[in-house]
């Protein structure tokens, strides 16, 4: 029931049904909140599948950790664990940009658990939220509405994106300097829509790294000084960002936008939203009926250079 109780019981996956009917799965650093819609017993059975898939998931990943933390080179590494395989598949197309499969870990976990729920035939819709990186399953006639919150520190949605079953988008992920992972850049947030949560996760990480500028107000430290086991080695990660001139904000967003546009060209992502100090850029193609900007409010999104 509480953190204190979990501690007593020590290691091991925890599953709990939240009062509103969602399922909460937790082990170590993984916190998943899972929702589903469907007829009859479908939801309950989907939750059972998800919980079963979750058991041992972390242990499987941990077994591959040394390989997952290594920067990708010319030869793809071989992983036995299926979640590690998802991470490799999502990061491999970006290997020239410099990253390890760990860039997709949260999204890949969400995809893997979502896949387990999708085995349930009566399910109309399901989603797995892994700390903000969301994988979702849609059937014809259903829509996934994603509220876009550019800054995790302020729970204020500046718009929502609706994704229907016809769209190829099945994942959304957000990365930024304020998140739990290290960032090489200074973005407040980069949200990406892609074909899977793992693909969105890897792309959001890279775009957030690219939102950057040389400015004396930005403090950086070698990642290894903060975490000895980081996949980033001695690369300088952002520790804090002070006041930024408007020109610096625009320059940093330009750099991130260039990477996002390249990814859209390559077909690895569908759309991206970059936010830095209240300035937002939305970049993405708009396949008719697939991804549309339904609602717009607030300052940031209206200033975007492109529509969803």
């Amino acid at each position: 029931m509480t953190a204190a109780v979990e501690t007593v019981r020590g290691a091991g996956a925890q599953a709990a049904l939240l009062p509103d009917g969602r399922l909460h799965l937790q082990e170590g650093p993984i916190d998943l909140v899972i929702g589903a819609e469907g007829a009859g017993e479908a939801v309950r059975r989907a939750y059972t599948s998800a919980a079963r898939r979750f058991g041992g998931l972390l242990a499987g990943l941990v077994g591959e950790l040394p390989g997952l933390r290594a920067w990708l080179g010319d030869t793809p590494p071989i992983f036995a664990d299926p979640v590690a395989g998802r991470m490799l598949a999502a990061t491999w197309p970006h290997r020239a940009r410099g990253l390890s499969p760990m860039a997709a870990v949260a999204g890949a976990v969400a995809d893997a658990v979502l896949a387990a729920t999708m085995e349930e035939p009566g399910l109309a819709k399901a989603w797995v939220n892994d700390g903000g990186d969301i994988a979702f399953h849609l059937t014809p006639g259903t829509t996934m509405r994603v509220a876009l919150v550019p800054d995790p520190a302020v729970a204020r949605a500046v718009g929502t994106v609706a994704v229907d079953a016809a769209s190829p988008v099945r994942g959304v992920a957000t990365s930024g300097a304020g998140g739990r992972s290290f960032s090489l850049g200074i973005a407040d947030s980069v949200t990406v829509l892609a074909g899977s949560a793992a693909a969105a996760d890897a792309a959001a990480t890279l775009i957030a790294d690219a939102v950057d500028v040389d400015d004396p107000s930005i403090a950086r430290r070698p990642a290894r000084e903060l975490d000895p086991d980081t996949d980033l080695g001695d690369r300088p990660v952002t520790v804090s960002v002070g006041p930024l001139a408007p020109g610096a904000i625009a320059a940093a967003l330009d750099a991130g936008e260039a990477v996002a546009r390249a990814m859209i060209e390559e077909g690895t992502i569908a759309a991206a939203c970059l936010v830095l100090r209240g300035e937002a850029r939305t970049i993405g193609i708009t396949p008719a009926g697939a991804i549309g900007n339904e609602e717009r409010e607030g300052q940031g999104w209206n200033r975007g250079s492109a529509s969803w």
């Binding site: 029931m1 953190a3 204190a4 939240l18 520190a153 302020v154 204020r156 739990r180």
Partner: protein, 520 residues
């Protein structure tokens, strides 16, 4: 914000779990075994989960449930923490009375209702119930009292932290400057970064960490609850004994016969002894020394100089500059003049020469003794921080199905409100609006959520009968012993803060200020 400096295992510090859940790896690095990831955590950092952290080389839980314990019998000495003792079970005193605080009781999923713990225990023959939770407060802030005579900045000036507005300068009070930091408009009503920086600032202040604040048109102040304020790089030492006029009044008789004139330099009111009522009552002859500024009443002057970090909170570094003139009709050669600040930190003794010019001279011992006495009567300058928040609807719903009854029970002094076991002052009027001195809570009692909002422990204690009467979740009451059995090993145990009244002491109806909230 930096990691707190408290050493692990010491009184008030979290319990070192290195041996149980991890291993030290040298260079302060700790490996956490709580889950298969086996994070190696650097000092001051948290593991991948954010639940375990390395504090000064020890693995600690970032949000353990805190149990406060006091010796079972009055007068029984507290046993100091001795984690190195082999048979030590982590408890301060065996058989100690235990109060479960809200710290670490759980807020991860605020949907949880009723409140995380509803604990039943018996105290002095009365069944009591304590509802323990952590509140998430968007409507919250701190009131900071900075003991200083220095001019920190104009009233209503904006206070910034890390370049973002986080509060404002409010009233100047006796020997102190009040600041208001936080509040919902900075937390969620302003820019995104403003909210985050405000939240960080509040969290650090509440957890008694130092925070640097910049006042528009004023000073930079480093504020830390319980520590001396540092104004523009200089630590403040003493509160002034009073304004210049009050200082004259307090020490006039002690100066009589040793000096002919005293000017007490102060940013608010500068006092001149022989013009002042106190000097007149002692039949002191007028000395003819005129100071600058605007005369308020005889012997009391406003604005003898500009505010600053010199003598008595003015910008004066050479006190003779505030002397406008020496009246040759009244003054006389050989006149003994003392100039002193309201803290006694600055003093100058002069004798007028034949041309009636003040010439610095060695201060006679009886005069120096009074200057020292001014200093002795100044209390040490400190920063004090009161957390203020309102316990809103959802929090109350964790206590009772009928939330307004909890409010009424608090107002009727049937329910005592504590935060981390510390007594609170409950504001009159609507709602449950509380203030608490952050120095009376256990270490690391406050947390935050990304909303942004602060997370603070809050406990409601009442007689079991009163709990049933207000529609409490009586089915969810756990016996203290059962709770201890379940979470006791994982909980952090702290010695009871000696100044705090024991929250389980039964409340008496009509007990006045000692009831729902005791202000002390």
């Amino acid at each position: 914000m930096t990691a707190p400096a408290t050493g692990p295992g010491g009184p008030g510090g979290p319990v070192d779990r290195t041996a149980k859940y991890g291993a030290a790896e040298g260079d302060g690095l700790v490996r956490c075994d709580a889950c298969p990831v086996l994070c190696r955590i650097k000092p001051g950092r948290a593991g991948a989960c954010g639940r375990y952290a390395n504090e000064a080389g020890a693995l600690v839980r970032t949000d353990p449930l805190v149990l406060s314990e006091r010796a079972a019998q009055e007068g029984r000495a507290m046993v100091p923490f001795a984690p190195e003792a082999e048979d030590w079970d982590g408890r301060v005193v065996r058989g100690a009375e235990t109060f479960v605080t809200g710290i670490g009781s759980g807020t991860t999923y605020p949907d949880y209702k009723p409140a995380p713990f509803i604990v039943g225990s018996t105290f002095e023959g009365v069944d009591t119930v304590t509802v323990v939770t952590e509140g998430i407060f968007s409507y919250c802030g701190v009131k900071v009292k900075i003991d200083t005579d220095r001019h920190l900045g104009p009233e209503r000036a904006v206070i910034t932290a890390d370049g973002e507005p986080v509060g404002h300068v409010t009233t100047a009070e006796y020997g102190s400057q009040m600041l208001s930091i936080g509040g919902v408009r900075h937390l969620t009503g302003g820019g995104k970064r403003e909210g985050r920086v405000t939240c960080d600032t509040l969290l650090a202040l509440c957890n008694r960490e130092p925070v640097e604040l910049a006042i528009d048109g004023g000073s930079h102040v480093v504020v830390r609850a319980g520590a001396a304020p540092v104004v523009d790089g200089e630590p403040e030492a003493r509160m002034r004994v009073g304004c210049g006029s009050a200082t004259i009044g307090m020490f006039a008789r002690q100066w009589l016969g040793h000096v002919d004139e005293v000017v007490v330099v102060d940013d608010h009111i500068t006092g001149v002894l022989t013009e002042h009522q106190a000097g007149r009552c002692l039949d002191m002859p007028p000395a003819g020394i005129r100071v600058r500024g605007r005369r308020s009443t005889p012997g009391r002057y406003f604005r003898v100089a500009e505010p600053g970090s010199g003598w008595g909170g003015t910008d004066v570094t050479d006190p003779l500059t505030i002397l406008e003139r020496v009246d040759p009709e009244t003054a006389w050669p050989g006149l003994r003049l003392l100039m002193v600040s309201t803290t006694g930190q600055d003093a100058l003794y002069c004798v007028l020469d034949e041309a009636l010019r003040p010439v610095p001279a060695e201060m006679p011992a009886p005069v120096a003794a009074v200057v020292d006495r001014i200093g002795e009567n100044c209390e040490p300058a400190l920063c004090s921080v009161l957390f203020m928040a309102g316990a809103g609807g959802s929090l109350r719903a964790g206590v009772t199905e009928n939330p307004v009854r909890l409010t009424r029970s608090v107002k009727d002094k049937l329910t005592r409100v504590t935060m981390g076991g510390a007594p609170t002052y409950v504001w009159p009027g609507g709602g449950i609006m509380v203030m608490v001195d952050v120095e009376r809570l256990p270490a690391h009692a406050f947390g935050h959520v990304p909303t942004p909002a602060l997370v603070a422990p809050i406990e409601f204690t009442m007689a079991a009968e009163a709990y049933r009467a207000l529609g409490g979740h009586a089915d969810h009451v756990v016996r203290l012993d059962d709770l201890m059995g379940e979470v006791g090993g994982a909980a952090r145990r702290e010695a009871w803060h000696g100044d705090n009244p024991w929250p389980l002491t039964p409340l008496r109806r009509g007990a006045g200020a000692d009831g729902g909230g005791e202000a002390s």
